[in-house]
């Protein structure tokens, strides 16, 4: 294959990564933005989504699309429920103290990971895609499913954006993010907003995982890379900024796809991590964010 098509393939792969990453990182960003909680267990919610997707789709017989759709609906709901319980039992009791919640979410990470290992096992298991249509390009055929993942992610991002900017729920969330005490004084049910945001954040990660699981397999350690990449995206995009998060996800996803096609993936990760750490040190508002007042 020539360089051009090769690059196109890399870019397409990168776009799929970006799409999934944007959803995952958006969840992390929402939770941090509204609650000021760094959720280290975010990657485990992603993993949980994938593992549940496998369980649901194997439990349902018939056409793979039926199982997949069931998984796409049920898995995120279950993950949201887990997140809700964790929020009630742990985060709320810590009064959302930033350091305490980091330590607690590290604890959740280990618990979820270990439970997945115990009940799901160490194997990587595939989920069948809902359809197997291949789009024929002049140079190579490309999975139609992968492109539909990109489309699905784009639709979800637009919906989230609309909810955040155009609805009363979005207004309440932004008010809570801006000033928790004042919002409370104006009758915003802050605790319920927090619980909801934490659950929605986890559900976004779970949806991303269900979308990706027919492409890459479900595995109990699969949450680690999305967590790191989401951190990178959220930091580069500016903590708590939706537009920055999406732009950064596309940037990171594309460059990750392209760089790891031409360089060692370890080297790519080293450079990306180092760059992000430096961004955080020298430009903590992110590359696209503006300095807070």
């Amino acid at each position: 294959m020539h360089f051009g098509p090769h690059l196109l393939l890399a870019a397409l792969e990168g776009l799929v990564t970006s799409a999934v990453l944007a959803l995952t990182a958006l969840g992390l960003s929402l939770v941090f933005g509204v609650m000021r909680v760094v959720n280290v267990a975010h990657g485990e919610f992603f993993m949980l989504g994938a593992v549940l997707a496998w369980a649901i789709s194997t439990a349902i017989s018939g056409h793979p699309a039926v199982g997949f759709v069931a998984a796409l609906v049920v898995a995120p709901l279950l993950v949201g429920l887990v997140a809700l319980v964790a929020e009630r039992l742990v985060l709320r009791r810590l009064n959302y103290n930033p350091e305490g919640t980091i330590v607690a979410t590290i604890g959740m990470l280990y618990i979820i990971q270990q439970l997945a290992l115990t009940f799901y096992g160490p194997e990587a298991r595939p989920v069948e895609p809902p359809f197997n249509y291949r789009i024929l390009l002049p140079w190579f055929g490309y999975s139609g499913y992968k492109l539909s993942v990109v489309a699905a992610s784009a639709i979800l991002l637009v919906i989230t954006w609309l909810v955040l900017t155009r609805t009363r729920i979005g207004l309440i969330m932004r008010a809570t993010q801006y000033d928790r005490e004042t919002a409370q004084a104006f009758g915003v049910p802050v605790e319920r907003v927090y619980a909801g945001v934490f659950a929605v954040g986890a559900m976004l990660a779970a949806i991303a995982a269900v979308l990706i699981v027919p492409i890459s397999q479900a595995h109990y350690l699969m949450g680690q890379d999305p967590l790191l990449l989401s951190f990178i995206v959220v930091i580069i995009g500016g903590l708590g900024s939706l537009r920055g998060t999406v732009v950064a996800a596309i940037l990171i996803g594309l460059s990750d796809g392209i760089i790891s096609m031409f360089f060692s993936p370890t080297l790519a990760k080293i450079i990306a991590t180092l760059v992000v750490a430096m961004v955080l040190v020298f430009r903590p508002q992110g590359l696209f964010g503006t300095t807070p007042r």
Partner: protein
């Protein structure tokens, strides 16, 4: 309160060291080995505690300092054939230098950003170990040859693989670091560190260069953690990338939280407790991580001062 009971505090610490010395002759073989490991790792926890407990800086990347010591000592022995003392010094130096660089960068941030930055630098360090697998052995790691783990002291040669020598070496390091920590936290420097933890802005307005003080604490903490890593490589003969992973940044945090942050003996208590809990439960379950996770959450929720912190609060106010 300071100056209230220095004699009592020193007596307690010397007593603990003496007890550990005596245990060598009583403990069965298996527990003797476990204790040697616990003492070496308690040094890691003490280094972590200096920064987390006393200065209030929560790092999520201390595995890099531990493994800087581990690899600094292990690789110089393995590739350059250095002797034990030189290798140990090389390890500690690596850790201190790394801490200096990381401190200069990471201390520009604070709070949550500090945690994430330290975690990311540690991740880079971990990936570098994998990337240079030709020298480091990658995730397989390296075994430091038994023959090169001999300490020559003026004619007498000590075999660090011998259980008693290993126990005593770990104890010696532990004792030195414990007494250094005790002296530091009772010194003027220690008082400044605590003041920074309590209110950095106020400390500045008392004429202190808080950034320089924090940097000194990061370097001291990094050097102590590296000493633990170097000792681990030389005493137990294995150097591997798993020691640089995220988990080894979380463990010292867990040990310190459990034993009691900002207590001098807390790190030992926490490490000891956690090791034995794992050891005992390993008979019933392999879910080691589950225990770590549950312990972290329970500690943060119900027991934020840890074992010795709670004892100090309720009964022994003089406990350093």
């Amino acid at each position: 309160m300071r100056d209230a009971s220095p004699a009592k505090a020193y007596a307690l610490h010397v007593g603990v060291i003496a007890l550990l010395f005596a245990l060598n002759f009583v403990l069965p073989d298996y527990h003797q080995g476990l204790f040697a490991r616990i003492m070496a790792l308690a040094v890691f926890a003490m280094g972590y505690n200096l920064l987390f407990g006393y200065v209030g800086l929560l790092s999520l990347g201390h595995a890099m300092f531990f493994s800087a010591g581990l690899y600094g000592a292990g690789l110089t022995v393995h590739h350059l054939g250095w002797g034990v003392p030189e290798a140990f010094i090389a390890g500690v130096t690596c850790g201190a230098l790394l801490a200096l660089v990381i401190g200069l960068l990471a201390l520009r941030t604070s709070g949550v950003a500090f945690m994430i930055v330290t975690m990311m630098f540690a991740q880079v360090f971990y990936l570098l170990i994998l990337y240079f697998a030709a020298w480091t052995g990658g995730d397989q790691g390296l075994v430091v040859q038994q023959a090169s783990r001999t300490l020559n002291l003026g004619g007498a040669s000590l075999d660090l693989t011998d259980p008693t020598v290993r126990y005593m070496s770990a104890l010696a390091l532990f004792a030195v670091v414990l007494l250094i920590t005790l002296t530091v936290v009772r010194s003027r420097f220690g008082r400044v560190l605590v003041a920074i933890r309590e209110n950095e802005e106020r400390t500045k307005m008392l004429g202190y260069d808080t950034v320089a003080n924090k940097l000194a604490a990061v370097v001291a903490s990094g050097a102590i953690c590296a000493a633990s890593g170097a000792a681990y490589a030389l005493l137990f003969g294995y150097v591997g990338s798993s020691f640089a992973g995220v988990q080894y940044s979380i463990l010292p945090l867990l040990w310190v939280l459990l034993g009691g942050a900002a207590t001098t003996l807390g790190p030992l208590v926490g490490t000891l407790f956690m090791y034995y809990v794992t050891d005992i439960t390993s008979g019933f379950t392999s879910a080691y991580l589950l225990i770590v996770g549950v312990a972290l959450i329970l500690l943060v929720l119900f027991f934020p001062k840890g074992i010795l912190g709670s004892i100090r609060e309720r009964w022994l106010g003089w406990l350093p």
